[in-house]
């Protein structure tokens, strides 16, 4: 896995959370790998999850299958980035 590719995916996921959930740039800049997402961010309800995933798909040019979507990938910022990277960096 290329570190610079991973950085791009992380930047993209951060930008998607900012744009889709309407979070401030400062707030998403503070996200680390262990920052909890689903269940911890009130903005991230199940409808917003659908928008976040679709926007990540569009920006990274990937397809996320419905059976791949589970609670684990949305638990933390790090888990979501890792999942997106596993799809984008192959």
């Amino acid at each position: 896995m290329l570190p610079e590719g991973y950085d791009t995916v992380e930047t993209t996921v951060r930008a998607v959370l900012r744009d889709v959930l309407g979070l401030s740039a400062e707030r998403v800049a503070g996200f680390t790998a262990t920052t909890p997402l689903f269940g911890a961010l009130p903005e991230l309800d199940s409808m917003a999850v659908a928008s976040v995933l679709t926007e990540i798909e569009d920006r990274l040019g990937i397809l996320i299958e419905d059976d791949e979507v589970d609670g684990d990938m949305l638990e933390t910022f790090g888990a979501l980035v890792e999942f997106a990277a596993s799809k984008a960096l192959v």
Partner: protein, 236 residues
């Protein structure tokens, strides 16, 4: 000048529309995205059309049958019937000697294929398959399970985010693509974050993905400038 409330007639009834800008010259016929994205972008698009009017270009923002404030039931509607309704606006303009240009936002770009527009300007156009994918994901987010075929199976309307969508309408989406006719100018503008092909990429956030409706006056001004310049070039 404040927008004026007008209406248009189509074979299935009468719908309301907002009218902006001068009563002569080329007219932009604007189609909002369908369903939830339409609610999220309406305020922004009104800002855009006011900015377009300031640049001397008139426009209309019609309620598509079954969308917005329209009381036409979704049952019996397909993309083609919606596009046929919007065609009536262009036909009326022809009677008045005005040419029309389509302005399609997201899935609104799927609704301008019937009218004889002099050109089409699309913002982040979405294919019917992409729209269906979004709807399916929203359907699944409401604790349903199954693939798209299961969602549409049975012939009964499917409730998605408060809309009762007839299966004929969903089926009509699967193969739909934004209209691009040979010899008719088309311009595609996308956001910088969207890697898909476009004539121009602009740096902005996708308002249509936000659950809290937002506005972006700077983007509205920038896009109004783009549309006005493009229509002027088409008319030259």
């Amino acid at each position: 000048m404040a927008p004026r409330i007008d209406h248009y007639d189509w074979p299935g009834g009468r719908e309301a529309m907002l009218r902006f800008g001068p009563d002569d010259g080329p007219l932009a016929v604007v189609a909002l995205p369908m369903f939830e994205e339409g609610n999220r972008t309406r305020t922004f698009v009104v800002t855009l059309l006011r900015a377009l009017a300031e640049r001397g270009i008139g426009s209309v923002l019609p309620d598509v049958p079954g969308q917005g404030e329209s009381i036409t039931p979704l049952a019996g509607l397909t993309l083609l019937r919606m596009a046929t309704a919007l065609e009536a606006i262009t036909d009326r303009c022809f009677d008045d000697g005005r040419r029309t240009y389509a302005v399609g936002i997201r899935s609104g770009a799927l609704l301008d294929g019937c009218a004889l527009h002099s050109g089409r300007w699309h913002l982040a156009p979405q294919t019917g398959a992409d729209l269906l994918r979004d709807l399916h994901r929203t359907w699944r987010a409401a604790s349903h399970s199954g693939d798209q075929t299961m969602m549409m199976a049975g012939g009964d309307p499917v409730e998605i985010a408060g809309n009762l969508l007839p299966s004929d309408l969903l089926l009509s989406m699967s193969a739909a693509t934004p209209s691009d006719q040979p010899g008719i100018p088309r311009r595609v503008v996308r956001l910088a974050s969207d890697p898909a092909a476009a004539d121009r990429h602009v740096d902005a956030a996708p308002l249509w993905r936000r659950s809290e409706p937002g506005n972006d006056a700077a983007l509205a001004a920038l896009l109004a400038e783009d549309i006005a310049g493009w229509i002027a070039a088409c008319e030259a």
